[in-house]
C-alpha cells in the first residue's frame, strides 16, 4: 500500500516538475511537519491535513491516548514521501489555487488534494454508486465532520472545493491497482476488497449505545463518525470499522440496513458484505454459518440486585446463591439469550419475563423482583444513565459466563478473518466494557444530573423551609459559640491567678 502511494506521488511529482516550480521548497518542511500549538489535539491536526489521526500517530510513533505536547513537531505526511519532486509539485498546485496562502495551515491540505481533483473528477462523476457515503467518509479514517469544518475555515473562494476534493483522494488510490499495481499475490478475499477499494461492513439498522449510535447533539465531536444519511453515527463499532478499513488501505462503506442482528450475520454469510460489526454476540447458532473474529469486548453476565430484598432474604455475597432459591423472583427480558442463562444458573428461582430491558430494571428497582439478569454492558450503561437507582440496587456478576462481542466474517473470507484477528491484538482493539462505558457514557449524563448546580437548585426547592431554618440555627448557634469561646478565653488569666 505504501509502495503504491510512493509510486503515485512520484508520478505526480514528475508531473509537477514539468511545470518547473521550485520556489516553495522552504515550505516542504512545514508541509511534512506541523508544530503543535496550544489547544491542538491530534484529531484537530488530522483534520487540517489529508491524513487520518491513525496515520499521523503511526508516522510519529504515538501510542494510544495520542497525547501531543506543545511545540512538538509532528510528521503530517508519509515518511516515504521524501522525493523533492513532490514538494515542487505541490508548490505548482498551490500556485494554481487562489486561496491556500490565506491560511498556511490549510496549505498542505489543498495542495495534496488538488492533483487528485484534476485527475479524478470525471471518473468520480461516473462512479456514482455511493455518492453520499463516499463524500462524507472518504478520508479513510477519522473525521467525518472534518470537511465541514475545513470549509468554514478556508476563505470563501475555496469553499466549494474541499468537498469534492476530499472525496476523490482515496479514489485516486483505487485506480492504480487496476492501472497495473500487482495484486495477484493477494488471496482472493483480500484482493476483492482492494480492487473494490472499500470495505463493506454490515450493521443492524437500529442503535446500540456505545457501539453504534447517533450523535446528533455532537457530544463527541472528536470521535470517528460515519454519516449514514440519517445522522452522524459514532460508537466503538464505527471506530473499529474505520481502523480495519484503514489498515487494509481502503475506504469504509457502512451498510446499516440489517433488520436484526441474526439477519446481518446471514447477509454476510451470503456474501452481501465483508463483515458484520454490530455489537454482535458470538452465539453458537451464528457460529454455524459465519466465522467470529476474536471478540473486541468480553462482557460478564450481570445481575442487578435489589438491596432491600437482598438484606431481607439474608446475607449472601454470591449472586448465584442469592438468587437461586424458591422465594426469589428473577426478572428477564423476553426473547433474549439471558433466558437460558437464567434457567441454567437459577433453576430454583421464579423467572418473570418482561418485554424490555427498562422494564426488568424497573422491576428490580421497585422490589417486584429480587434481581434481573442481562449482560454487564446493558446494565452498566443503564446505570450510567440513571445513577439514582444505584441507591436501591447493586450490580453483581456471574464471573463464569463470558459473552464475547466481535466481528462476524463470511466463511468464504478466511484471510480477512486472520487479518482482523491479528489486528485485534496488534492495534489494541480489544478493550473492556469499563473503558467503553467511560468513553461513551463518561458519567457525563450522571455528572449532569448530580452537578452542584442541580443539587443546589434541588435543595433550595425541596422543603426549603426546614432546610433554611436549620442552616440559620446552625450558623447562629456556631457563631454564638465562637463568640462565647473567645470571651471565655479572655477570662483565662484571671482563672490562673485564682489558682495561685
Amino acid at each position: 500500500m505504501k509502495k503504491l502511494i510512493v509510486a503515485l506521488l512520484f508520478f505526480v511529482g514528475i508531473l509537477g516538475s514539468v511545470w518547473g516550480n521550485a520556489q516553495t521548497v522552504e515550505n516542504q518542511d512545514s508541509d511534512d511537519y506541523y508544530t503543535v500549538g496550544s489547544g491542538d489535539t491530534l484529531s484537530k491536526i488530522a483534520e487540517r491535513y489529508p491524513a487520518t489521526l491513525q496515520q499521523i500517530a503511526d508516522w510519529n510513533q504515538l501510542e494510544a491516548p495520542y497525547v501531543v505536547k506543545l511545540g512538538q513537531r509532528l510528521r503530517v505526511t508519509p515518511p516515504e514521501r521524501d522525493a523533492s519532486g513532490q514538494a515542487e509539485d505541490q508548490a505548482a498546485d498551490t500556485e494554481e489555487e487562489p486561496d491556500p496562502p490565506a491560511e498556511t495551515k490549510t496549505v498542505p491540505e489543498a495542495t495534496t488534494r488538488s492533483p487528485a481533483t484534476e485527475a479524478s473528477t470525471d471518473r468520480e462523476a461516473q462512479e456514482t454508486s455511493m455518492p453520499v457515503s463516499e463524500d462524507s467518509s472518504a478520508p479513510p479514517a477519522e473525521e467525518q465532520s472534518a470537511p465541514e469544518q475545513d470549509t468554514d475555515s478556508i476563505e470563501k473562494p475555496s469553499t466549494p472545493q474541499p468537498l469534492p476534493i476530499k472525496a476523490p483522494q482515496p479514489k485516486q488510490e483505487t485506480p492504480p491497482p487496476g492501472n497495473g499495481e500487482d495484486l495477484s499475490y493477494y488471496p482472493p478475499d483480500i484482493r476483492e476488497i482492494k480492487e473494490r477499494g472499500k470495505l463493506i461492513v454490515l450493521q443492524y439498522q437500529g442503535t446500540r449505545g456505545g457501539f453504534f449510535m447517533y450523535d446528533d447533539e455532537m457530544n463527541f465531536p472528536d470521535f470517528p463518525s460515519y454519516h449514514d444519511g440519517k445522522g452522524r453515527v459514532i460508537g466503538y463499532d464505527i471506530e473499529t470499522a474505520y481502523k480495519i478499513a484503514d489498515r487494509l488501505g481502503v475506504e469504509l462503506e457502512l451498510r446499516r440496513t440489517a433488520p436484526n442482528f441474526t439477519q446481518a450475520c446471514k447477509m454476510v454469510a451470503r456474501g452481501e458484505g465483508d463483515m458484520v460489526l454490530s455489537k454482535l454476540v458470538n452465539t453458537l447458532d451464528r457460529a454455524q454459518y459465519v466465522n467470529f473474529a476474536t471478540p473486541y469486548v468480553v462482557v460478564r453476565l450481570g445481575v442487578l440486585i435489589n438491596r432491600l430484598e437482598e438484606t431481607r432474604l439474608g446475607a449472601e455475597e454470591n449472586p448465584v446463591k442469592l438468587c437461586n432459591r424458591p422465594d426469589a423472583k428473577v426478572a428477564i427480558q423476553t426473547g433474549t439469550a439471558f433466558i437460558p442463562f437464567a434457567k441454567e444458573y437459577f433453576p430454583k428461582a421464579q423467572l418473570v419475563e418482561y418485554p424490555d430491558l427498562d422494564a426488568t430494571i424497573k422491576a428490580v428497582e421497585k422490589g417486584e423482583a429480587l434481581a434481573m439478569l442481562n449482560d454487564e454492558w446493558n446494565i452498566g450503561s443503564a446505570l450510567r444513565m440513571n445513577p439514582e437507582i444505584g441507591v436501591r440496587v447493586r450490580l453483581a456478576f456471574i464471573p463464569e459466563v463470558k459473552i464475547g462481542l466481535g466481528p462476524a466474517i463470511s466463511p468464504e473470507k478466511p484471510n480477512l478473518l486472520n487479518f482482523v484477528n491479528l489486528m485485534m491484538e496488534r492495534d489494541h482493539i480489544q478493550t473492556t466494557s469499563t473503558f467503553l462505558l467511560d468513553r461513551y457514557f463518561d458519567k457525563g449524563t450522571a455528572a449532569q444530573v448530580s452537578s452542584s448546580m442541580a443539587l443546589l437548585a434541588e435543595s433550595s426547592t425541596t422543603s426549603s423551609v426546614d432546610n433554611l431554618a436549620l442552616v440559620m440555627i446552625i450558623v447562629i448557634g456556631l457563631s454564638l459559640l465562637i463568640v462565647w469561646f473567645l470571651m471565655a478565653f479572655k477570662l483565662k488569666p484571671a482563672k490562673v491567678e485564682e489558682k495561685q
Binding site: V449, L456, L470, W484, L491, P493
Partner: protein, 442 residues
C-alpha cells in the same frame, strides 16, 4: 454568674503577671483571637485555593503527629495514676458507679436525640433526584459488596480492646488496647499498698508531667497547625457530597449543637459555675478536636483546661480519657439518625419496637465505635441489618461525608467527656477539691 463576676474584675490585674515572663511571639501565638483567625483563614484557603491547600495536608498531619506524639503516653499515664490514686484513697467505688451510670444515661440521650431529630425533621424524605443520583453513583463506584460482614465489627473491637501484647498495643497506637492495659495497670497499682508501687506511681506521674511539658510547647504552634489542618480538611471536602446529603449533615450538626447545649446545662447544674467559665474550660480542647478531627488528640489539653472547674485530679486523670474513648454520644446520635434517614430513604415506616431497637443499639454500638467515622462506619451494620436496611448504603454515605462529620463527632465527644468529668468531679462540701495542678496550663 457569680463566678464570672469574680473573674472579670481580676482580669486586668492578672494579665500583666504572666505576660511579663513571656516572649511577645508566644503571647501572640497563645492569643485566642489568633486561633479564630487561623481557623477562618484555613477554611477560606481550603475553599478557594484547593491546590495550595492540598499541599498543606502533609504539614498539617505532621503537626498533628507531633501533637499526638505525647498524647498516648499522657492518656495512659493519667489513667494509671488516676485509677491507682482513686483506689488508694478509697473513692473509687463512688466514682466508678457514678461513671458507669453517667455513661449509660448520656449515650442514651445522644441516641434518642438522633432518633427524635430523624423522625421529626425527616432528612430522608423527598431527597430529590439529583441527590439520589449522587448517592447512587457513589454506591455504584464503591461497588457492590452487600456489606453484610456480620462478625468482623465486634471481633475487631474485641481484638483491639484486648491486646495480644501490651507493648505492641503501645507501639501500634491502638487506643482501646492501651486504655484497657492502663486500666489493668492502674487497678493493680491501686490494690498494692507496697512502697515500690508508690514509687512506680511517682515515676508514672513524672512521665506524665514531662509529656505534658512537651505538649505545652507543641500547643504554641496551634494557630499554624489549625490553619494547616482546617485548610486540608476543607480542600478534601466534596462540595457535591455535602450538598447531596445536606439534610443529613445539617440535622446531624443541629443535633450535636443540641448535645453541646445539653452538656453545658448539666455542667452548670452540677458544678454551679457560670457558662463562660464552663466554656473557658471546654473551649480550647473542643476547638482543637474540631480542627484536628480527633478527640483523643485533645485529651491532654482538656485535662489541663478542665482545671478551671476544679474537679479532683484523679477524676480528670481517669474519667476524662476513659470517657473520650468509650462514651461517644455523637456516634450514638449519628447512628440513630442515619438509621432513620435510611428507613425514610427506602420508604420504610418504623414501628415503636423498631424505634426502640434503634435507640438501644445505636447507643451500644456508638459507645463501641472508636476513631474516625471511616473506621467506625462498619459498626452501623448492627443497627441496620436487623431492620432489613442494607448497611452498605450507610457505609458509602459515611465514607463520602466523613470529612465533614468527623470534626463535629470528635469535638462533641470531647465536650461530652468534659461534661462527664465535671459532673463526676463536682466540688462537694465534704470534699473540697484541690485544683488540678499543672503549671504549663497557659
Amino acid at each position: 454568674m457569680s463566678a464570672s463576676s469574680v473573674a472579670v474584675p481580676s482580669q486586668p490585674a492578672a494579665k500583666p503577671a504572666p505576660s511579663k515572663k513571656k516572649h511577645p511571639i508566644i503571647r501572640i501565638l497563645s492569643n485566642p483571637w489568633i486561633l479564630a483567625i487561623s481557623l477562618i483563614l484555613g477554611g477560606l484557603t481550603g475553599h478557594y485555593y484547593k491546590d495550595f491547600a492540598v499541599s498543606l495536608i502533609f504539614p498539617g498531619e505532621l503537626y498533628l503527629s507531633m501533637f499526638q506524639m505525647s498524647v498516648i503516653p499522657i492518656i495512659s499515664t493519667s489513667i494509671i495514676v488516676g485509677l491507682a490514686r482513686m483506689l488508694r484513697s478509697g473513692s473509687a467505688s463512688h466514682y466508678l458507679g457514678g461513671m458507669i451510670g453517667l455513661f449509660v444515661i448520656t449515650v442514651l440521650v445522644g441516641s434518642s436525640l438522633g432518633l427524635v431529630l430523624g423522625l421529626v425533621l425527616e432528612p430522608g424524605h423527598n431527597l430529590g433526584k439529583a441527590s439520589e443520583a449522587f448517592i447512587g453513583q457513589a454506591l455504584l463506584e464503591e461497588n457492590s459488596s452487600s456489606g453484610l460482614d456480620q462478625n468482623s465489627g465486634l471481633q475487631d473491637l474485641f481484638s483491639q480492646l484486648v491486646p495480644a501484647n501490651v507493648f505492641e498495643a503501645y507501639s501500634s497506637g491502638k487506643v482501646l488496647g492501651i486504655i484497657f492495659a492502663s486500666v489493668l495497670l492502674g487497678a493493680a497499682m491501686g490494690m498494692s499498698r507496697s512502697e515500690v508501687g508508690e514509687r512506680f506511681l511517682e515515676v508514672t506521674e513524672g512521665m506524665k508531667e514531662a509529656f505534658g511539658k512537651i505538649l505545652g510547647w507543641v500547643v504554641y504552634g496551634l494557630p499554624i497547625g489549625v490553619f494547616f489542618l482546617i485548610a486540608g480538611q476543607v480542600s478534601r471536602l466534596g462540595v457535591e457530597a455535602v450538598l447531596a446529603l445536606s439534610k443529613l449533615v445539617l440535622v446531624f450538626y443541629f443535633g450535636c449543637l443540641l448535645l453541646w447545649l445539653f452538656y453545658a446545662l448539666i455542667m452548670r447544674a452540677a458544678t454551679g459555675f457560670s457558662f463562660s467559665r464552663i466554656f473557658a474550660a471546654v473551649g480550647r480542647p473542643v476547638f482543637v478536636s474540631f480542627s484536628a478531627a480527633s478527640a483523643v488528640a485533645s485529651v491532654p489539653l482538656a485535662q489541663k483546661s478542665m482545671s478551671a472547674l476544679r474537679p479532683p485530679v484523679e477524676v480528670v486523670n481517669f474519667v476524662l480519657p476513659l470517657s473520650v474513648a468509650m462514651n461517644r454520644h455523637s456516634y450514638a446520635l449519628l447512628f440513630a439518625l442515619t438509621a432513620v434517614f435510611l428507613a425514610q430513604l427506602f420508604g420504610k415506616t418504623l414501628d415503636l419496637y423498631q424505634a426502640l431497637f434503634i435507640l438501644l443499639t445505636a447507643a451500644l454500638v456508638g459507645s463501641a465505635s472508636a476513631g474516625r467515622l471511616a473506621v467506625a462506619a462498619p459498626m452501623i451494620t448492627y443497627v441496620l441489618v436487623p431492620l432489613d436496611i442494607p448497611a452498605s448504603v450507610a457505609m458509602t454515605i459515611f465514607l463520602t461525608i466523613g470529612t465533614i462529620l468527623d470534626p463535629m463527632i470528635q469535638s462533641s465527644v470531647v465536650f461530652g467527656s468534659c461534661a462527664n468529668t465535671a459532673i463526676l468531679g463536682k466540688p462537694s462540701p465534704s470534699n473540697p477539691n484541690e485544683p488540678y495542678n499543672d503549671e504549663d496550663v497557659t
